[in-house]
């Protein structure tokens, strides 16, 4: 589970508990200017994820860490597909983040509000 928040001009994604360990990352800070949008997308778990390096991938249980797929670098931290949110980025190391959050709709609304000021 990740906690997504807006802090000043940044979007901050913090991993909680053991997910820090699986994802090998505890915190990501992205300038809001580089956030293109956020989407609730349970179906993305069914897509090919590419090669994991580094991180943890136990299919159907946990997808966490950095994945390389078709020239894109995607950060994953998801167990429960129903709670997956996709955050699309520009000019960042990661093309997109796919993270599990407690309330996907609220997170999407927050990101949209923060990026459309």
């Amino acid at each position: 589970m990740a906690v997504v928040s807006v802090q000043g001009e940044d979007l901050v994604v913090e991993m909680e508990g053991l997910d820090k360990l699986w994802a090998l990352k505890s915190r990501l800070t992205i300038p809001l200017a580089n956030v293109r949008g956020a989407t609730v997308d349970p179906g993305i778990l069914g897509e090919p994820k590419g090669i994991r390096a580094p991180g943890t991938h136990v299919p159907k249980v946990i997808t966490a860490g950095t994945f390389h797929h078709e020239g894109e670098k995607v950060f994953w931290a998801v167990r429960d597909a129903q709670k997956a949110v996709v955050v699309e980025l520009a000019d960042e190391t990661y093309t997109r983040l796919v993270v599990e959050v407690d309330d996907p709709r609220a997170v999407v609304a927050m990101v949209e509000k923060a990026t459309n000021r």
């Binding site: 949008g37 997308d41 179906g43 993305i44 897509e47 078709e70 699309e88 999407v108």
Partner: protein, 155 residues
């Protein structure tokens, strides 16, 4: 349809507009979009950034190609307006999305101008809404030739 990595953006936006015209925003998932548009999920995100990005592109296209060119003849009798996405946007998304509200309000203002009177816009929109339950999808009335005969009225 196979999923395409590169695609004609306008073609995809047109298909998205059709999908959003028939269902509420929340009722359309990325799975639905990927399936209907026949594109890769990654490409969809890469081009539009988010579901909202796809929706805004679809609404803009709808307004530019299906609403604006018909403003002048909107009040003519017998004209079946195919503005479902616009109406749905007004009630479904405009309250939650300032950009959608702006797009919809701007078109309504243009309609006022074309009609010459805001009251005429209200009559037009009211009549359109009124007929909606009887009309089929895309605004085509179910009984276009016999508007006077309501079911049960015949002998």
């Amino acid at each position: 349809m196979g999923r395409r990595r590169s695609f004609d953006v306008d073609e995809v936006v047109e298909a998205a507009a059709e999908l959003f015209a028939g269902r509420s925003y929340d009722g359309v998932s990325i799975d639905d979009l990927v399936k209907r548009l026949g594109v890769h999920r990654n490409s969809l995100y890469g081009v539009f950034g988010s579901k909202r990005g796809v929706y805004l592109a679809a609404l803009r296209r709808h307004i530019d190609q299906e609403v604006r060119p018909h403003l002048a003849r909107a009040a003519e009798p017998g004209v079946a307006l195919t503005w479902d996405l616009l109406l749905l946007a007004a009630v479904d998304r405009a309250p939650d999305d300032a950009e959608v509200a702006e797009l919809v309000s701007a078109v309504f203002a243009e309609l006022d101008e074309a009609m010459g009177d805001p009251a005429a816009t209200e009559v037009l929109l009211g009549r359109w809404l009124r007929r909606r339950p009887e009309a089929g999808r895309h605004g085509v009335p179910a009984e276009q030739d016999a508007p006077e005969t309501a079911p049960g009225e015949g002998i």
